[in-house]
Amino acid sequence: MRRAALLALLAAAAATGCGRPGSVELVARLVEVPPGAIREDPLYNYAAILKYEVVRRDRGPEVEPVIYVAHYNPRKPRARAADRFITGVGGTLKTFRAGDLHRLCLEPDAEKWYVGGVINFYLGAADTIYWAVRTDAVPEPPAGRRP
């Protein structure tokens, strides 16, 4: 029953679509938001590295069960994260909350996509930091049916 609920949830997530940018597309759960990772400082447009547990990969090469993702301007809703310097990022997610499911369209090696300040509480934890091109909110299944 739980598995059926999860599959239905993931199917719904796939139906919302990412517009399919990025070379990797997956659904993952945000493990935590370290204190200080998302600064309410309007002067700085930086990227924060956040940790995810991968629930399902839909497209692209294999990924580790735990991945680290750079999100640009994380204090802003994804639809308003892009600016005159960093374009091509977006999504429906409004706020980063630990435990939430996200549908992520990613590019490996964030350094190839982003030149700017990074807040990273996971320094050295992974060889690959992914760059979040699109981050969509995924509705939670009914209580007790979390994947």
Binding site: G36, L43, Y46, E111, V115, G116
Partner: protein
Amino acid sequence: MCFARWPWLAVLPAALLLAAGAARAAEPEAAAPPQTDDPAVRRLAEEVRDKGWIVFAARTGEGDWDLFLCRPDGSDVRDITRTPRWNEGYALFSRDGRRLLFRRIGRDESFDGNRHGAQGRLVLADADGANPQVFGGEGEFPWASWSPDGKELACLSADGIFLVDVATKAVRRTIDRLGFFQQITWSPDGRSLSGVANSFGTNWSVARLDLAAGRASAVHVGDSCTPDWFPDGRRMIFSHKPAGQAANNGYGWTQLWMADADGTNRRFLYGEDGRHVYGGHVSPDSRYILFTGNAAEDGDAGSAGSPMALVRLADTPIVGGADGDIRRLHPDAGRGPVLVLPVGWEPCWTGADLSAGDSSGRRAADGPAPEAPAPEETP
């Protein structure tokens, strides 16, 4: 990043303002440094007056941003770009003081305090602003910095750090950027680059890249930026916001620090309760430090702006302004003298003699600098 208006201009009759319009166009809006009765400050001003020239960006009376030269005491201010269609910033003298590089953006754009080295087009010119030549297209040759001999530029992009031959624009070498993301500066001995990097701490650090080994090392970890070299190539000056400051609603104030290039012998140089201090630059004889900063930490692109200032290295540590948290942290620090200079952004100092021009804002040799046409081709 912006500059204060002369406050007394507001009370002048409009007719006088109109009559003065042509003259104002050749001067930054706050060209005259504040006068002082402090004899120690006057001695400092006399001491540095003939020690070369400072280039800086400032808003003109016409509202655009130009590059200006002044003497290190703030006198003899002259506009060296005079381009009302464009804004100029991020000016760097070559180490021999013969050349100048800067970024040029459209008049309607504004420089961003964290992106200015990559904005618009790179322009190379003589040190007095003569013969400006647009070197690349929009966004090309980002964060350019002169090699010690002025024959190459080090640039930084997502693809890496690349060393470019000035004469041919050919890329001579590409190096992994290893987390560096802004403000790279080639060391005077040619062996290293300094810059701001993500690779060493939770957030941005001042770091050094060994060019021969292609290896990066931290100089100062965390909340550190705007590094520059001492002329000996063995020490660096940089801005740092120490953690745990209660002032400014717990945000604290950014201060000037220095360290050896290997990260040792770190020490506080200058801070102010009430202003973030940035853009530290060391005089060619290593005896003085030049800086700017503002209260909002944004370079003040849209409002009042902030004056540059200069102190003797031998007089540091200095806590300027009213006593507060920084004074409590450094109770034995001096109070000055601090020579306040015209309002300006990202100053750079050369010991070269650029005094051939007059002081009216017009270059003596060839009149007003022409506005270089936008290039149709890119390298």
